[in-house]
Amino acid sequence: MKTLGAIAVIITGALLLYASEDFPAWGDPHSPASQYRVSQHYILKTFEETSVPNMVTAILADYRGYDTLFETVVIFTAGIAIIAILRGPIDKRVRLRLASEKKLRESNLILAQTCRLLVPIIQLFALYVIAHGHHSPGGGFQGGVIFGGSLILLAISFQLQTALDRVSEKKAILLAGVGVLIYSGIGLVCLLLGGNFLDYSILHNLLQVDPITARSHGILGVEIGVAFTVASIMFAIYANLSSRGRMKGGL
């Protein structure tokens, strides 16, 4: 079976390598992808239309906003599915392991103090990544993952309960829902004001700015929604995976 798989992989790889001969050169301005008028429109007009210097963020959250909305929903659904499968009551074996691990965990002072120092910095950096996605690489997904990572760090360096005291399981699931709600709510507000779904330029009356800046602000709102969902789902997945869904003990 393994050799069969290896043969299939080698044949496919060779075919792909052969096909890559016909690719245009890297960054070639005359390649079909760059010549197509949609991509030319994005490259030339993004800053005029949305006042966002980072083209990737503008395409992700504005031009392809519908796509990103359902990416967020996919992450939300994945998290809910993992919680639904793993979540269960605490059993005796886990309690025994907890008792034996408590001694191990308390003795490591240096690790705990360093993490106490680092977690706020990481969270601040995550917020910076979310809010600065217009100008530099970053945005809701990355910032959300970093924020969730800071909570995971808290759970690893102390105990899972320490992190759950800050963000309880119920709160995490609620925040994940709130994220999707923010995203689709912004789209709905656009719809109610008479524009298209997720057409942020219609928000300019509400925000008291010109339509171009309104699009930029709309992107920021959407990124915040994405970040809520991703951060809380990351933490919920970790909490369930590491403790077998018992929310006690863990890594």
């Binding site: 191990l104 490591n108 240096i110 690790l111 360093t114 120092l117 680092l118 910095i121």
Partner: protein, 113 residues
């Protein structure tokens, strides 16, 4: 000119120390001395390499470049905090998982369960 020489010197120091770390990890006999080699030299060489990058940014003084230098020094502060701590955590975990004296003849890091 002086800036270039300083940059090159720092880069050379960083790369040489990194090389030492690699040799230490490959050649030292047991887990603890390997972690010793990796931990110390890794932090030191990363700091010197990043300082070299920061110095290279100072070729033309402007506010954006100074901002980059500031960010690089943030990374230096971060590395100097996390590097020793992660080494300590690994040592601690290794020591607690198997309570045996650190010096051994054979390959040690096979059975950590």
């Amino acid at each position: 000119m002086i800036l270039n020489i300083a940059c090159l010197a720092l880069l050379t120091i960083g790369v040489v120390i990194f090389f030492g770390a690699v040799i230490g990890v490959l050649r030292f006999p047991d887990f603890y001395s390997r972690m010793h080699a990796a931990g110390i030299s890794d932090t030191m060489s990363t700091i010197s390499l990043l300082t070299a990058f920061a110095l290279f940014q100072l070729h033309d003084l402007s506010w954006p470049n100074l901002l980059v230098v500031g960010k690089i020094f943030f990374i230096v502060a971060f590395i100097s905090l996390t590097g020793p701590t992660s080494t300590h955590a690994l040592m601690h975990a290794g020591y607690q998982r198997r309570n045996r004296p650190p010096v051994r003849k054979q390959e040690p890091d096979e059975d950590m369960t």
